[in-house]
């Protein structure tokens, strides 16, 4: 008696590894069209609409960053508002010294990325739950420290200089374009980052950290990189916030509400996919516009929906679409394709919540 198991082995040449199921060129073209159309908005819509869209850009950028942290690197941060605030204050400080706030925006982003390093050093050794609260404490501490400097407004804040003489319509337009630029850079940046080696390393870490380490993946480095990028991204959003509000108040820019928005938007839209935050932001904006006058309500509803989604629909709204329609607009996984056939399910999926 022998124990031979039969396998139907197919010759290796018949397999191909591809990055997506359909031709992603169409998605790229579609995205480009969307961006171009959006860029024309200041010429064709009211400034009220562009202002709302700027808000959407801010939320989308922050949510994408939070998604990168929690959905791909497994880092749940409840303190990203630290970078939002720092981004705003970077712009304020530079503007007070004569720089145009728009020029200060990229500097703010980089500055926040740098600021993320010592923060990472402080909290990186903590386990998940404690990591989360520690980031919150860091954010609160950052705010308290900033509040001590009356030259930048102290505890009450101050208006953002640097726009003197600028026509309001132009200002709105520039703000809008800045917002669009930040969002596009953020999304494209995340997409490229995850398509590359970092994405592979993060998936490996997610699947089996010990194995990932022993096969050479620099686990700590990968996570740190993600934390820094997320810091920079939230910093850019904060800078945008300062520009759009024309003032910087510590209580407003360091509010944990931002984390609540980031997290809930991502969860509802779909954690661990690049499309998720986009869907979530859309939901968020609709909710906010509908309940505009009931300030606390939209957060209450958002929170409740996020709880429900976490417990019952883990993959969020985009997850439902993805499951039923098999669509990936931003393909970062790998598919094993048999010649002529529909690809098999060798899907290397990012972390699920």
């Amino acid at each position: 008696m022998s124990l031979v198991t039969e396998t139907t082995a197919l010759p290796a040449e018949r397999f191909r590894v591809t990055r997506s199921r359909r031709n992603v060129a169409w998605t790229g073209v579609g995205a480009l069209i969307v961006v171009v159309v959006l860029a024309y908005f200041p010429y064709i819509v009211y400034s009220g609409t562009t202002a709302i869209l700027v808000q959407a850009f801010i939320v989308l950028t922050m949510a994408s960053m939070w998604n990168l942290l929690a959905g791909y690197a497994g880092l749940v941060s409840v303190g990203q508002q630290a970078f939002v605030g720092l981004g705003a204050y970077f712009v304020l400080i530079l503007a007070l010294h004569g720089t145009s706030p728009f020029a200060a925006l990229p500097v703010a982003a980089i500055g926040c990325g740098v600021a993320a390093l010592p923060m990472w050093w402080l909290v990186s050794r903590l386990r998940s739950g404690y990591f989360a609260i520690a980031t919150w404490v860091l954010a609160a501490t950052t705010m308290l420290i900033i509040e001590k400097f009356s030259s930048i407004g102290g505890g009450t804040g101050m208006p953002l200089p640097g726009f003197a003489g600028l026509d309001p319509t132009l200002l709105t337009a520039y703000t809008y374009w800045a917002g669009l630029a930040v969002t596009v850079v953020a999304l494209v940046g995340i997409y490229l980052l995850l398509r590359g080696r970092l994405g592979l390393v993060l998936t490996a870490i997610r699947d089996d950290e010990a194995a990932a380490r022993s096969s050479g993946a620099r686990v700590g480095l990968a996570r740190m990189l993600v934390f820094v990028v997320a810091g920079a991204g939230c910093g850019a959003a904060g800078a945008l916030l300062a520009i759009s509000q024309l003032q910087v108040q510590p209580g407003a820019v360091f509010s944990v509400q931002f984390t609540a928005e980031m997290a809930f938007v991502t969860i509802i839209g779909g954690l661990g996919t690049i499309e998720g935050p986009i869907v979530g932001t859309a939901v968020y904006m609709i909710l906010q516009q509908t309940l505009a006058s009931y300030n606390a309500w939209y957060l209450i509803i958002l929170g409740l929906v996020a709880i429900v989604v976490t417990l019952f629909a883990r993959r969020g709204l985009w997850g439902l679409v993805d499951t039923h329609l098999n669509v990936r607009l931003f393909p970062v996984g790998y598919y094993l394709r048999l010649d002529e056939e529909r690809p098999r399910a060798l899907r290397v999926l990012p972390r699920r919540g």
Partner: protein, 291 residues
Amino acid sequence: MAWVNAIIQGVLVGGLYALFACGLSLMFGVMKVVNLAHGDLAVVAGYLAIGVITVTHIPVLWSFLVVVPLMAVLGYVLQRTILQGALDRSVLATLMVTFGLSVVIENGLLQFFTANSRAIGTGLALVSGSFSIGSQIQIGYLLVVVFAVAVIVLLGLQYFLSATKYGRLIRAVADDREAAQLAGADYRHVFGIAAAIAFGTVALGGIAYGMYSQLQPTTGTDTILLFAFAAVVIGGLGSLWGTLLGGVVLGVAQQIGAQISISDETLAGFIVFLAVLALRPQGLISRGAQS
């Protein structure tokens, strides 16, 4: 002398912080859940106490007897339903659910009670009175009582965990959930008990805080949660008395900061926390690894 006064204040308020912290620490030790809504529950308890007193006109101190058991039951129910559901999913799920609860509670309180601060007035000499040591040290009765209560609660908790059937079960489940199941213990029930204790102690702290200071919808996170966590880290995980020490160190640091500049009170506490995090992550009294 103002410094001596400040240090004594700090030590005493440390008891209150320890009361906030022990529930947080218990839930993490047993279920590996960091309840981000922990502080908000204390505030809910405070508002509940105010509500109960206003509606039923019972003596203020009786509010403890009503609200604390109520919160404990709430803790058991919440744990068996929502938190267990999240636990079964992932760590992220527990963080998101508790964070969601925190946001919902805070904004709910904001919506219904506005951002005005409230206090639980007792009208008793207990609250407003104080005694003096020598001519320059003045200590409020309330704070001394709160500290004494905190110590008693911690002693009680210590005894419960070391000498009773459920205390043993809680420790066993925390050590090895499956082995406890093999011994016939339903870990979900044990988790519920631990959550009940956590909710009860933090409710106690919340009502006491409402008497000692003011309650606002955001107090739960700004003050209670972050301070409780700071006390746990400074004191080291896994030790109830470490939590008390952590609370005391935090309180003293805050009072010293307040002496330097009144607005530096909270910041001073956080800086000590960050220093401990940087230099000695295990805390002052460590038992077992943290990270």
